[in-house]
Symmetry: C2
Subunit: 199 residues, 2 copies
């Protein structure tokens, strides 16, 4: 293992900044190299210059380290949704928020590719991703309710939005074409509208 592959060095003591970030980087690198199951938490911690116990202070479990960004993504979506014009139909407000979020994700395509490859290789990680998406749906449904949308429409709109996002994201990751993620989202929404219209 080359020294360059390690993201700490011996001159670091305790209290080196950004322990969480170092753990995230170390985990993603190791999961990508050897696979999720073949990586122990102790190895991640060691690579980050910390101990296993400290890992579990930052992340609830071995999987969560890949999903720390979900929180800020959720905040962004809810915020964008809340500031949409009142005139927008709920489904379009949701789509607009997802497109904006997609534009952000797009800026880190390399990272997204690497991360998704790791997740795709392990069912436990897929489970975690699904519950994060479900959490996003709940948060968006709540934001819609604050806009006066009633249930079940609010929940259905949010769930439909997440379905659209999932399909669009999947195509963005797996198709070599360099098209825009927001563009994929728009197209998927149009497809959903066609499909639910019985076409």
């Amino acid at each position: 293992m080359s020294v360059a592959a390690i993201n700490y060095d011996l001159s670091m003591g305790r209290w080196e900044p950004d322990a969480r970030g170092r753990l995230e980087q170390a985990a993603l690198a190791l999961y990508a190299e050897r696979g999720f199951e073949q990586t122990t938490v102790a190895e991640i911690a060691k690579r980050a210059g910390l101990t296993e116990r400290t890992f579990f202070r930052y992340f609830a479990d071995k999987r969560e380290v890949l999903f720390w960004g979900a929180g800020s993504l959720q905040e962004f979506l809810v915020g964008t949704l809340a500031s949409a014009p009142d005139s927008a139909a709920p489904i379009d407000a949701v789509a607009a928020a997802l497109e904006a979020a997609g534009a952000l994700l797009q800026e880190r395509r390399e990272f997204s590719l690497k991360r998704q490859a790791v997740i795709a290789a392990n069912t436990g990680l897929q489970e975690r991703e699904l519950i994060k998406l479900a959490s996003l749906a709940s948060a968006m449904a709540e934001a819609l309710r604050r806009r006066g949308v009633r249930d079940p429409a609010a929940s259905l709109t949010a769930e439909a939005g997440i379905a659209v996002f999932r399909i669009a994201f999947d195509r963005w990751i797996n198709e070599s074409s360099q098209r825009d993620l927001p563009q994929f989202i728009r197209e998927s929404l149009d497809d959903l509208k066609a499909v639910t219209a019985g076409r």
Copy 2:
């Protein structure tokens, strides 16, 4: 603990029939009584008159014991979808299959209530449920493709169907009204159609 609460007796040797069923019943009972995390696999096995090692021969992990039925549900859905008339629009064929499956679930409402209460109390179990639903969606998408539906439409239709089912099932479980689950599904689909039409 009363003797009646135990689903084996000392006259049983090895080779008593339906080990899997006994494990399922024991697990659901214990998860409902003390909660999922407070129940050890050893306790489940003991209650079923077996050992921990045997539990893991029947179920891949402690959560899976609650989801054994998902396989047959998936077969049923795919079969029903495959035998829908060619004239039916994809979304309506999916809805019809889901309604038929809902009619089956309805026959065991007590069991469904108990099981959902256990799942609702634990995020790990919710994760597992989500991936089972995602698997259902994949299987339905594949069935649609065999009907000639192309791909983003097939995936989107299946995902939308699962979203409809989730919302309908949730209402069926949590609303005291004794309305039909298939009826909830129809209504949720209508809501989705309205919502995606921009209303």
